[in-house]
Symmetry: C2
Subunit: 151 residues, 2 copies
Amino acid sequence: MVSFEPIGVVRNGIEKMSTGNWATVESVIELGPEWVSGLARLAEFSHLVVVFHLHRIPAFDRETQLLRRPRGMEHLDAVGVFAQRTKFRPNPIGVTPVRLVKIDANRLVVTGLDAMDGSPVFDIKPFIPEFDSVGEVRQPSWVSAMVKGYF
Amino acid sequence: MVSFEPIGVVRNGIEKMSTGNWATVESVIELGPEWVSGLARLAEFSHLVVVFHLHRIPAFDRETQLLRRPRGMEHLDAVGVFAQRTKFRPNPIGVTPVRLVKIDANRLVVTGLDAMDGSPVFDIKPFIPEFDSVGEVRQPSWVSAMVKGYF
């Protein structure tokens, strides 16, 4: 086991598991005040990568969640959990690029973070295309059903 | 504190901290055999996002690492850790998109994973542009010095 101590928490008032439209959600990431100087020059970036704990997800159930049909494609073959972006994962760690709206001391306002209220945050990284983007991508056609309306 | 149990480990023979050329490095991610069925249909994707533990990194030293000049820009102002991609982070969690070469049972061969040999792996996600890409990005000009030669 590896343990991490969160550096902050997500505040957005979202208490129910939502299935979509995350792009319009504005969240505040409240960092512990001891981390404020680690934000120096972060405002020069338009986007961040937020690494957070999907803290409301129940323990992974290998029997039913390792291989299953994701939402929107119940008519197709089952898909392994590692070929999905479902929140029900062996290690419920969320990784989401978000748009940075503003930084006010220890509070970062962002949009597009698909996290529920109270989610612990482990890390914030600047989104840097040299790290985070890839060239041309191949993905199966069933992905479009899986992601429709999510962001 | 939040604890996670790794699902696998990185094998690539890299024992020294490297500063670059990761794109050419081929790694094998060896998953525990209990996770194999979770890989179903993953081979239909060209790229993955690997979430892993930067396990060789010493404990974070707030005094010297919260705010510092990153490599390649020693002549410029100090930058907060959250505005850098340095491995020396409060929570040393790596998040890297990689190219999937092949899957053989519980072994995934990938290129471009900037992890040292033995790094524990927490999660594997399919790289899906709808999730992982963003539109036009703004980033400061000093980033180019910071990332030069890394991948």
